[in-house]
């Protein structure tokens, strides 16, 4: 199981690197969509069908919005050679990333290996959860009943984003 997940993540890393370095913006956005869709395969392998459905559909909508923005623009990224400031920026960024990665690897040695995780807060979500919440789908039971306060907050996040988009895209700001 871990090997297949690592291979798919490796493909996602290649896709992500292409998305960042692609010349044409449209192909960069589509590469980002591919990385999103390969995440769906990982979700299915990790036994999370709920997430797979939501991720497919949300990734499609993100792709539609990104393509809608990129389509009416000049699609080439203006390629200018990396000037001095660009080099310094890239090198410091790369150094910081290597340190960050080494720190992450060092810090996760003692934690549970993939698949060996125990349950502490989620125990009651599984044992009699179907009876307590009445829903056969445990994830929906957790999302709407055990942690319904989160989901209300999250539905409000989406409404806030809509209000934000409406305020940003109105034509005249000041009278």
């Amino acid at each position: 199981m871990e090997i297949t997940i690592s291979i798919i993540t490796g493909i996602m890393i290649i896709g992500a690197l292409y998305a960042i370095h692609a010349k044409d913006l449209l192909s960069s956005v589509i590469a980002c969509g591919i990385v999103g869709y390969s995440l769906v395969i990982c979700f299915l392998l990790l036994k999370a069908p709920d997430l797979a459905i939501v991720q497919i559909v949300v990734d499609t909508i993100t792709l539609i919005i990104m393509v809608a923005v990129v389509l009416d623009s000049s699609r080439e990224e203006k390629y200018s050679s990396l000037d001095k400031q660009g080099y310094v920026n890239a090198i410091t960024g790369f150094l910081f990333i290597v340190i960050f990665l080494w720190f992450f690897i060092a810090s996760i040695q003692e934690l549970d290996v993939l698949g060996k995780s125990t349950l502490r807060m989620a125990g009651p979500y599984i044992e009699g959860a179907a009876q307590k919440t009445g829903s056969a789908n445990l994830v929906t039971g957790v999302v709407f009943d055990f942690r319904g306060y989160d989901t209300m907050g999250e539905a409000v996040v989406l409404v806030t984003a809509v209000l934000g988009v409406l305020t940003i895209l109105r034509l005249k700001g000041k009278k």
């Binding site: 995440l39 990104m66 992450f104 179907a130 039971g141």
Partner: protein, 112 residues
């Protein structure tokens, strides 16, 4: 541990993209790549060997299920990610219509 490390490398690729790219769309793409790796990280944490998808089937009730809590968190985080991406795209198209370019450095010197 290799799956977690690969997932974190994907996060760092997104972080690298945000830090070094100057194109607005590339920055938005890098942010959504970081988002994708965060969701994968949560899904990896919740996986249990031999577990079954957390759907209770009245036929055979006793099974070992995968941990439903990280999945509920990712469900919420995906839609929050959609909200932030939509806001970012609204700002990007607005900036493009005003400045005519996606390059963040040109926008800086044009600003006045």
């Amino acid at each position: 541990m290799i799956a977690y490390i690969m997932c974190f490398i994907l996060f760092l690729v997104g972080l690298y993209g945000v830090i070094t790219r100057r194109n607005l769309i590339k920055i938005a793409v890098s942010l959504s790549i970081m988002e994708i790796s965060t969701f994968l990280f949560f899904a990896l944490i919740g996986y249990i060997d031999g577990g079954v998808a957390p759907i209770v089937d009245p036929a055979n009730p006793v099974q070992t299920y995968v941990d439903p809590l990280p999945q509920a968190l990712v469900l919420t985080a995906i839609v929050i990610g959609l909200a932030t991406t939509a806001m970012l795209m609204a700002i990007i198209i607005r900036l493009y219509r005003k400045y005519g370019t996606f390059d963040i450095r040109e926008i800086k010197n044009l600003r006045g």
